[in-house]
């Protein structure tokens, strides 16, 4: 429980930072999507149940602050979490580069699935793609910069909360 709450607290910090950046970038019509960061650390390093609950809470947090059907982020994050969790034994988890690659791939998948689920609302769906691709490129660049810091933040938060990294919750 403590592990899940500590992870959720770091997700609130992440949400705040991304929301503030998006606020500042609104005038330039650029939007950062960092869905993978809500999932990656918990899926790569944490026990199954506690990590999944943290990802679900992160999904609900994003759902509550977006104009989508409630549960869209939650279910997407759950699927992403389970998929990353399944392959985590095959990637070097403590390596920054591999963590960044996992985050980038997960974010790409989440972004595309999310876009396909939302694009039907637009009056000209085909015309929206250039904007979405620009947003995706910016988001991926942002993730490259921020992933090592955010992973370190989550690890340090758990350490401060005296939660051992791989202990079953």
């Amino acid at each position: 429980m403590r592990r899940t709450l500590l992870l959720f607290a770091t997700l609130v910090v992440l949400w705040t930072i991304v929301a503030q950046l998006n606020h500042e970038l609104a005038g330039r019509r650029v939007y950062l999507f960092a869905g993978a960061l809500f999932v990656a650390y918990a899926a790569l390093t944490q026990p199954r149940r506690a990590g999944l609950f943290a990802s679900l809470l992160g999904g609900i947090l994003c759902d509550a602050n977006s104009a989508v059907a409630f549960g869209t982020h939650t279910l997407l994050f759950a699927v992403a979490h389970v998929t990353v969790f399944q392959v985590r034994d095959r990637v070097p988890r403590d390596d920054n580069i591999s963590a960044i690659i996992v985050v980038l791939l997960t974010n790409l998948a989440l972004f595309l699935v999310f876009s396909f689920s939302q694009i039907h609302r637009s009056p000209a769906p085909a015309a929206v793609w250039p904007r979405l691709i620009a947003d995706l490129v910016c988001s991926q660049l942002f993730l490259v910069l921020v992933t090592p810091w955010f992973f370190a933040l989550q690890a340090r938060t758990l350490a401060l909360g005296r939660v051992l990294r791989d202990d079953p919750a």
Partner: protein, 280 residues
């Protein structure tokens, strides 16, 4: 057998989560959504207060000469606005006189609630803002929101001290508009559209009469009773024959300032407010 089940265990957990989510009653989901929004609302509002403080300190850096000049400019503006207010009250009196003479139904009355924008959220999928006033100021769902450049959008969610406004550039917003100066007042359908990167927001307009050519100013029609008539929506910059051959379809360029709003005005319908207070 057990090893294979162990490998599939995360997916079984996922299946359980999905089934549990589907079985959760809507009331509980609505409650969870509102709770999580309220959880983040203080963060949003605190960030905005920090922004106000930053602006204040940056303004403190201005020299006295600049402040004197700004004061002089404001005095000029005030003088012209005072004249405008006088003209407005005369026109209002004239409208009231004509309404009583011709026995016309009167326009909706609104209370103007000015609110600061706490958060802007402009993705390719939706565009919305969070304002720093909610139930505590009697903001109702569906209330129109305007700014000096025309229509901003419509209130879609109201929380304890904040409210969410869906912007007119969002594909989720549809409303009826008319071309300014069209004597026949022929309505057309406006919908938020594509918001390209580093470009002004746009919308699309359908059912444009064939004799209406770009560029023309599109304003609210007043039909439906939500938005008062005559508020600026945008400029029709392109109108082409639609696929049915009966109407044109076109593109509307919206105000560029929609992406950098800091203050907006919510029009709270007075009749509705009175009805709410009567119920209480």
């Amino acid at each position: 057998m057990f090893k294979r089940f162990d490998q599939a265990r995360p997916f079984v957990t996922l299946l359980i989560v999905v089934v549990a989510w589907l079985l959760v009653p809507t009331t509980l989901k609505t409650f969870a959504r509102a709770s999580f929004f309220e959880l983040t609302a203080p963060v949003t509002v605190a960030a905005d207060y920090a922004r106000v403080l930053r602006e204040y300190w940056s303004l403190r850096l201005h020299s006295q000469d600049e402040l004197i000049q700004a004061g002089r400019d404001l005095a000029r503006l005030n003088a012209s606005f005072e004249f405008g207010v006088q003209q407005n009250s005369e026109l209002m009196a004239e409208i009231a006189r004509l309404e009583s003479l011709l026995r016309l139904p009167s326009f909706h009355d609104y209370r103007y609630e000015h609110a600061r924008v706490a958060r802007r959220d402009f993705s390719g999928w939706w565009q919305r803002i969070v304002i720093r006033k909610g139930r505590n100021f009697g903001i109702p769902i569906g209330a129109p929101v305007i700014f000096s450049g025309g229509v901003v959008g419509r209130v879609t969610e109201v929380h304890a001290s904040t409210a969410v406004v869906e912007l007119m550039s969002s594909p989720n917003v549809r409303l009826a508009g008319v071309v300014e100066g069209d004597a026949l007042g022929r309505p057309m359908s406006f919908q938020g559209g594509v918001n390209a990167t580093l470009a002004p927001p746009t919308g699309v307009v359908e059912f444009v009469p064939l004799d209406v050519h770009a560029p023309r100013k599109l304003v609210t029609s007043g039909f439906g009773g939500v938005f008062p008539p005559g508020l600026t929506l945008g400029m029709i910059v392109r109108a082409e024959m639609g696929s049915d051959g009966l109407f044109n379809s076109g593109e509307v360029k919206l105000d560029e300032r929609l992406g950098s709003l800091t203050e907006v005005t919510v029009l709270v319908p007075l009749g509705q407010q009175e009805a709410v207070s009567d119920k209480r």
